[in-house]
Symmetry: D2
Subunit: 355 residues, 4 copies
């Protein structure tokens, strides 16, 4: 209820703050006999960790994942998996000057309103660092999806007003901004560096594509697949908008255009167009699931900003520390994780439904 | 798990299909001693029911709500509220010609993929009729919010590419399309009628504003207020996109612009701008919560469409019956309901947190 | 959370008070394509309803179940089942003299402490009438169990100090007290009638036997099969004690005696003895599951009792109305229902586990 | 769902096996601003840990608890608490001879039936070691209860057929068997030592008393306080029976005797007798809550036993290692923990109910 768990049958609970000894995650509901090692998890953590490139924060965390339970002789046992990630590069001093300040765009004030108390070092649970736990859990979910031949692709569609145009998934991991268009990548990176130089930050849009999702996942009413994916994806700190298929574009369209015609393709029911983004009536159709996420510009900027402190006095603050000028490249694996966690859960529920 | 419940402490479970004897909802967790009568619920149901105006479906349902339990001498007792709404205007014949057809844009195929079986009369649980149960429950939630002086306003921001411009909440209930701009209303209505005449339908955008929400609602991690609102709102059949505050606009913005500066207003912490839409770090700030919902054009259109039937044969279908050419006016009370249900739940959780 | 739901994947929510218009239950998670009719449910309701014999209350309720949703052309659709049971024989006048009295043994005072308000007519949600909803849901669960060849037998093991000795399951439904020993039946019935004549009531013990439960149901930690069965069975109003296998007898035993030796029987692993009652480490072994339930004597007695009223004044009360002098025969189908609901849920969870 | 979580608003998730690197627990829903240190938790862990006395297992574990998150400057923050306990004294060799054997009384066979795979070293999740995590979480719950002046007392009522008679709570922590009767203590200890010498083990009964519980906790229907306590207590590995108040004694009683008369005591409503054990209609009355737990004799005995191995061959097994001949003294703090966790959860739910 206190909101640190996600999922129903494949359920994760994350814990930890960026300035305590460790963060981590417990996954309950992992099917037994799944081959799994620390390395499986590390691969994705490395894609999220800070310091990967010049356009991400220079905070130094190796983010080593250690599986504490639930694996025996290289296979899951059905017992809960606990994964621990030690914090290494803590610099609480970075936060001394802002300990009683409500940083603009940050959850400092919301936290005080909610809890009457806060760990001012690094944003507590609303810190981006919490997402490492999600990525670790997502890596386990992806291993299960791989068995079912379900693949998740996430890439940076836009940075500010620079859009990827000629999409080529193969290059996503080959450029620092994780976009799918080599030309756009260079422009995006320049844009991000410019923002950083100005002590500023910049927003972005991610596109998510799920390939190979079988039809029939999701439920018709409150647990629509798009509703559950929205819950998971909107719970990523910087996401302010989400759309499925044509999304807001469908709001300007008509039924005769927007309805996807069913056709037979390779002997299975398929859609001639995919305006619906692979989900109709809350249930997957078997077409690619298409999602776009709107990311706000990071709130931590080094420009001087006016705000209030805890005594309600007007103050000026410059958010020191090592921050990301654009969240897109590091949110890519986080979005993958939230999608993977949701899909595994839906697969398990679907399995149970056909008792 | 099977997804017909919503909420944690204030939890609703809906049931019923449009062509069975009745639909309804059970609300568990209603605080005791809340004054409540059938009339309280009827008021909102009347705003959702079909046949209200020339631009909504002409299906005739009075949608009379009857409280079956949980109220004694005009007050809630703390026991679960069951609310029943009898179905009246069933015309299963309307569905005879489509009983084995996968209507484009409809969940017919998704249902078969999920359940291997379906009630072809009216779409089963993915029917818009299910939302009457949500509206009934939402009416109870709104009575609780009223005690806390929290107000929810939802209106049609756009129909196709016609946008409301000069916003005046007072006129929302005075025009058939439930927009907040009298001039735009006329154009929107004309646009909807035109679509209907062409046997077509049209998409729309709703804007939702919550006034008076106290700071501190929502949780920092998975149960962010925006995540939970997204779960609820995205579970409304026609919603394909959602954004909070500047939403996708924030993706094109910079931190120095997008960060909301905290200021003191009437002795309470407030924001000079509200790019964040009243939620930062997943927790309400006390500013107006601003949400926009992208609605797809209704899938039921009377134009002839090509599709497949259950034998995977290509067929042509004309969706007969009495359908809405634009969902916006009837989704307004549904969106209000989902927001109200979410907020009451968050208020209760917040209450428990401060043990 | 407010506690009117039971189950995880096969989840029921009950509603209704004995003196409102109706009671009922919503079952979410019913697998599709299960043949089901009102008659399937009525059969078990008839075994629970009042007025069956001279040793049960003479309140007259036909308890007609009506399925409102989730069934189409005689089969479940996967949508939630709502089952409604109208109240017929309401005599709120019976409660006039006790409306402000805390009846001894009843939840009147507890209710006031919890809710600050109560529906004094018939005990509200703690009324035995609520169990009709459970029995209706249990009938659906039993149909699923029957497909899996799992059978539940519950009978009256003891009334006061009279114990059934020569157990013959076939006669259970042939005697008014639902015991499994014809000779003991006569003595038990006499004992119950004697209690009633004295304006008193009497306690009893039920024995529950599950045959055909596959090994592997239940979870090793908090959701042990015995823990979940205890949750369900202890939630029946009159149950004050529960034991599995040898139960308290095991507390006086030694490991060398109490450990069940594994042997091969008909090519499957089996136990030579069954001290554990079919559950070891929280997981079913495949042996018969054996449970005993201690029922308290009903609190409603017609003898004059001293107590307090809501003004904290000492008063005398005689609980009028038509009450059961012994709960055993009518709790038999309720216990069956709670066991059936738990087992179906565990079967579904087990199905999902092996993704 | 996979059953490693307990609680609704104050929710714990435990993880870890006795032969992995660590066990632990995540507590979600801890109210903010509760003073808390490792030492608060250690105190109870020390009461559960092995090697405390000659009648407990000689396995050597210091069971040092480390809080990894959720505490800042000595106070809880509202973020999830993760508590880690490293395993120290692992001797997997002890399990070599039983790796493919279904030990009688143990969950080895149940596990294989459920998961198709098992970590044979020490019983996996059904190991008693898992309860250390519960005790750690329970220590946090007790700190909250202490603020509400609610006290939990658990002691050994019987070992085999030796019962404590002259109850004096003050001596519970002064004798190795944690009974409340000094004379009986000596006899019980002798009995346990005798069992051990014979390579055998012995059962026991615990009595639990909750003092100061306010009236109004628990819910009228499925989440009755006794039902929820049963779920928690029956999920302790060795518990085979549970009763509230007079329990099975009530089954032999009559209503006129068993009904507790309400009287005014120190200006509050109270009961003259407490046959109901402090809970009526599933809700606390304010009287002492009285629970008795039947513990089976531990399954690990050093006598030679016949059983099967994984190839279904008959084998003889002697369970080596360092085991408890009687579980009572070490289960005392575990039972306290499960009661404390349940009560804190009910307090939080009750708080939320009165919105």
């Amino acid at each position: 209820m206190a909101g640190n768990s996600f999922g129903q049958l494949f359920k994760i609970t994350t814990f930890g703050e960026s300035h305590g000894p460790a963060i981590g995650v417990v996954i309950d509901g992992v099917p037994p006999k799944l081959p799994l090692s620390d390395a499986d998890i590390q691969k994705d953590l490395d894609r999220r960790r800070p310091g990967q490139s010049k356009i991400t924060t220079q905070r130094h965390e190796t983010d080593r994942a250690q599986i504490l339970s639930g694996v025996f002789e290289g296979q899951t046992t059905g017992a809960p998996l606990a994964i621990l990630i030690r914090n290494e590069d803590q610099r609480p001093k970075d936060y001394e000057n802002i300990k009683d300040v409500f940083r603009p765009g940050h959850a400092d004030f919301s936290y005080m309103a909610k809890f009457g108390y806060r760990d001012y070092r690094g944003g507590g649970r609303s810190s981006g660092r919490e997402t490492a736990s999600r990525v670790a859990a997502g890596a386990v979910a992806k291993k299960i999806l791989a068995k079912h031949k379900i693949q998740i692709i996430v890439y940076t569609l836009a940075v500010g007003d620079i859009y990827a145009q000629n999409i080529d998934y193969k290059i996503i991991e080959q450029n620092a901004v994780r976009t799918a268009d080599a030309k756009a990548a260079a422009v995006m990176i320049a844009k991000i560096e410019e923002a950083r130089k100005q002590g500023d930050s910049i927003g972005a849009i991610l596109e998510c594509v799920v390939k190979g999702c079988p039809p029939g996942l999701g439920d018709p009413c409150f647990d629509k697949l798009n509703a559950r994916l929205s819950l998971g994806l909107m719970s990523i700190g910087s996401v302010k908008a989400i759309e499925f298929g044509d999304g807001f574009g469908a709001s300007r369209s008509t039924g005769s255009v927007n309805n996807d015609r069913f056709v037979l393709k390779a002997k299975r029911v398929s859609c001639l167009t995919n305006h619906s983004g692979g989900i109709i009536g809350g249930i997957s159709t078997g077409e690619d699931i298409i999602i776009r996420l709107g990311l706000k510009p990071p709130s931590s900027i080094s420009q001087l900003q006016k705000t209030l402190n805890e005594k309600y006095q007007e103050v000026q603050v410059r958010v020191k520390g090592r921050h990301d000028p654009c969240l897109a490249p590091r949110i890519v694996p986080v979005a993958e994780a939230m999608i993977a966690l949701t899909l595994v859960d839906c697969l398990m529920i679907q399995k149970a439904t056909k008792l």
